[in-house]
């Protein structure tokens, strides 16, 4: 009994550290900022840093989506295909056939709502297959990754879409109060995510489901409904990421989003989101994205040849993982 009360007195220290588990990547980010400053004088300029953030916004939204899904204890590989198909299909519904569209002639202001709706539909299909058919999320979304990409390739004939309505490009290219609109949007959505998952019952239920679905059910959480909802939100966020990318690049290529999912998982896992579910935070996922973005930027400024980037990239992700593991002190699952 004395031993136990001893431990109780010691606990607060460990706890206070535990509360900062989210911040384990902050030292990594500081090191990267320092390294960047050494590598190039332009690195620490406001212009460059805004540029880094702007480039990461679309990826960040997909990371946010994936983090929510991973915390719930599920998986979604198909998000990267949604980034491509949702804007492509939405745009094709509004542009004339001469520009590669269907020529249905829907009003152009519907393009963005349609895009988000398509994202929601893809999330609904994923949820349906996983929850109603009780299939493994990994396999379902792996198949959906291929199906959705294939649908885009088939519909566009593998071609890029160039003649896009101005309204569709606006969000990805506008500047609000001196910062790109996409940074405001992404920042706001992350803030909503942090508050929802940190301070609301519904958000906390994601952790309960990911930690132990039976326990969550016994506590009255409507597990299936929440999981399904998370897949739908994931699809919408991925579609929005597609809108931002499209606005930034000014066109939709047939492989928009292709290969993102590896970066998405890397960012989420570096940021402390567990692949087993129930662990991690939205803020952590955000720091993961920042690490990836800074590494990319430093490699570019350093003039690392494209052929070597991949390797350096992978190694740095591993190092970041090891640092966050040591700082966090806990074995990563």
């Amino acid at each position: 009994m004395t031993e136990r009360s001893e431990r109780m007195r010691v606990a607060p220290v460990a706890l206070r550290l535990g509360r900062f588990r989210d911040l384990t990547l902050v030292p990594v980010i500081l090191v990267l900022l320092g390294a960047g400053a050494v590598v190039s004088p332009t690195f620490l300029t406001a212009e460059n840093l805004i540029n880094v953030m702007q480039q990461q916004t679309a990826l960040a939204l997909v990371v946010l989506a994936e983090a929510l899904i991973l915390i719930t204890g599920k998986f979604d590989l198909s998000l990267e295909s949604t980034v491509g198909l949702a804007p492509a299909l939405a745009v094709m519904l509004v542009i004339p056939s001469s520009a590669g569209g269907f020529g249905i002639g829907l009003p152009t202001f519907l393009a963005i709502p349609l895009c988000l709706l398509i994202g929601a539909l893809l999330g609904t299909v994923n949820g349906f297959l996983i929850l109603r058919f009780q299939l493994s999320a990994f396999v379902v979304t792996l198949a959906m990754l291929i199906v959705v990409r294939g649908l885009q390739l088939g519909l566009t004939g593998g071609k890029s879409l160039f003649e896009l309505p101005q309204s569709f490009l606006y969000l990805g290219s506008a500047t609000w109060l001196g910062l790109p609109a996409s940074i405001w949007i992404t920042g706001a959505l992350f803030a909503v995510g942090i508050v929802a998952l940190g301070y609301f019952r519904l958000g906390r239920s994601l952790y309960a489901i990911g930690g132990n679905a039976d326990a969550a059910r016994a506590a009255g959480v409507r597990v299936e409904r929440v999981v399904w909802g998370v897949f739908v939100i994931g699809g919408v966020l991925a579609a929005l990421a597609g809108v931002l990318t499209t606005g930034w690049l000014g066109s939709i290529s047939a492989n928009q989003g292709n290969g993102w999912i590896f970066m998405v998982f890397a960012a989420a896992v570096i940021g402390g989101v567990s692949l087993d579910g129930g662990k991690g935070t939205v803020f952590g996922a955000l720091t993961g994205v920042l690490v990836i973005g800074l590494v990319e930027n430093i490699l570019t400024l350093r003039g690392v040849p494209g052929e070597w980037k991949q390797l350096v990239y992978g190694v740095i992700i591993l190092v970041a993982l090891m640092i966050s593991r040591l700082a966090g002190g806990k074995a990563q699952d």
């Binding site: 009994m1 136990r4 009360s5 109780m8 606990a11 607060p12 706890l15 535990g18 508050v195 940190g198 301070y199 609301f200 019952r201 906390r204 239920s205 952790y207 309960a208 990911g210 930690g211 132990n212 039976d214 326990a215 969550a216 016994a218 506590a219 009255g220 959480v221 567990s274 129930g278 662990k279």
Partner: protein, 495 residues
Amino acid sequence: MTDQRTAVEAVDVTKRFGATVALTRAGIRIAPGRTHALVGRNGAGKSTMVSILTGLARPDEGTVSFGGEPAPPLGDRDGWRRRVACVYQRSTIIPSLSVAENLFLNRQSDGGPIRWRGLRRRSQEILERYGVAVRADRLAGELTVEQRQLVEIARALSAGARFIILDEPTAQLDGPAIQRLFARMRALKEQGVTMLFISHHLNEVYEVCDDVTVFRDARHVLTTPVAELPHGDLVAAMTGDAVTLGERSDRAAPAPEVVLRTDELSLGGHYEDVSLEIHRGEVLGLAGSGSSGKVALAETLAGLRGAGRGTVSIDGVRLRPGDVAAALEAGLGFVPEDRNKEGFVPLLSLTENVTLPVTRRLGRYGAVSTARQRAYASRMIGELDIRASGPEQPVGELSGGNAQKAVMARALSNEPKALVVVDPTAGVDVRAKEALLGAIEDAARRGSGVLVVSDELDDLRVCDRVLVMFHGRVVRDLPRGWTDQELVALMEGVA
């Protein structure tokens, strides 16, 4: 305690799952403030009754009432939570969340934002009120099994329920922790809490319960005050006929040849200088509490751990330390402590699981003859009376007792010279226990030397002699004829 009102009652409940009937017009009636035991063999319908009493399953027929009022509809989780709480067999604590959040799972707030500080304070109050010495802001995953269970009990009570179901709460606790749990149960009873206690250990029923209800084959058999029911009658009610357990059946005296010996075996932090010999046809018991090092010793014999010092030899062949394949090759059969983790591959069929160690003998050049495999499996299924829909059923679908029999069948499959079994009857019902202990004795009759590593007195009763370990050392070699008190005292280190 002659309160004749009713705290909880289930009447004429029938529940079917597909073709299986889990309960047939079964009922239970629990008087307020009493601790009521529900016992029965695996598959008797206890778990189904728990689901129905906690509102997780809807009875096909029959009714449930609390304090004379009908139970709330299934969707009204809060209504159920106010009336009944359950500490399930499988922990419903979420390890990645704090203790506070686990206490208030899905009721962290009334819809608005969660006030974490207030939540932690209220949690700490609850923990203190129920005497749980745990900080509310610790991660639940860092708690011991015992602490987690206490948190679950506190959670149950904090929701306002005055009726708690404890579903096999002692299964994962060691002796002292069980005693502390019992002390707590008695304290709760003083406060007027009604409890339904489920356990495979009948002595526990006699120790803490006032009344007992027996289920058998999906039906209610009897309900009576514990004090009026002798031990033998209780077992008879559970099994349908009287059985005497743990009497050593007739066996020839062990042969002089030594099949397994250890010489001054030591593993830092676990055990020290253990030298033992098991003879052909001998059943040797190895008893001790959870911290005695007996399981680590058994795992060393099986090659799962390498000893720091000393040697193990089987039939005169010295084993390479920490080499499972070598131990199997030398003729060792092993039943591990945690059958779910190390004992079987849940998705593989009974046949494949049972024949896993002997595939080499069932075919040539790495190929496995399915016909021989199946023949062998059918024989073992018959011998051990494994209840399954057929040899193709995955072991993961079997009940605890039958899964354990499959693990035993696997250990016996290579006709081991030495058989090491750890907790062979943990979590299995009386009948399965009998079959498993019978299998151990049969193995000895066929010439194996058996080491039974357990602290269950029933397991140790079939042994020819019992070595008692305490804090890593063998402290006594007891010949047959020991008394329960003597052995328990040695295991607890109070002799």
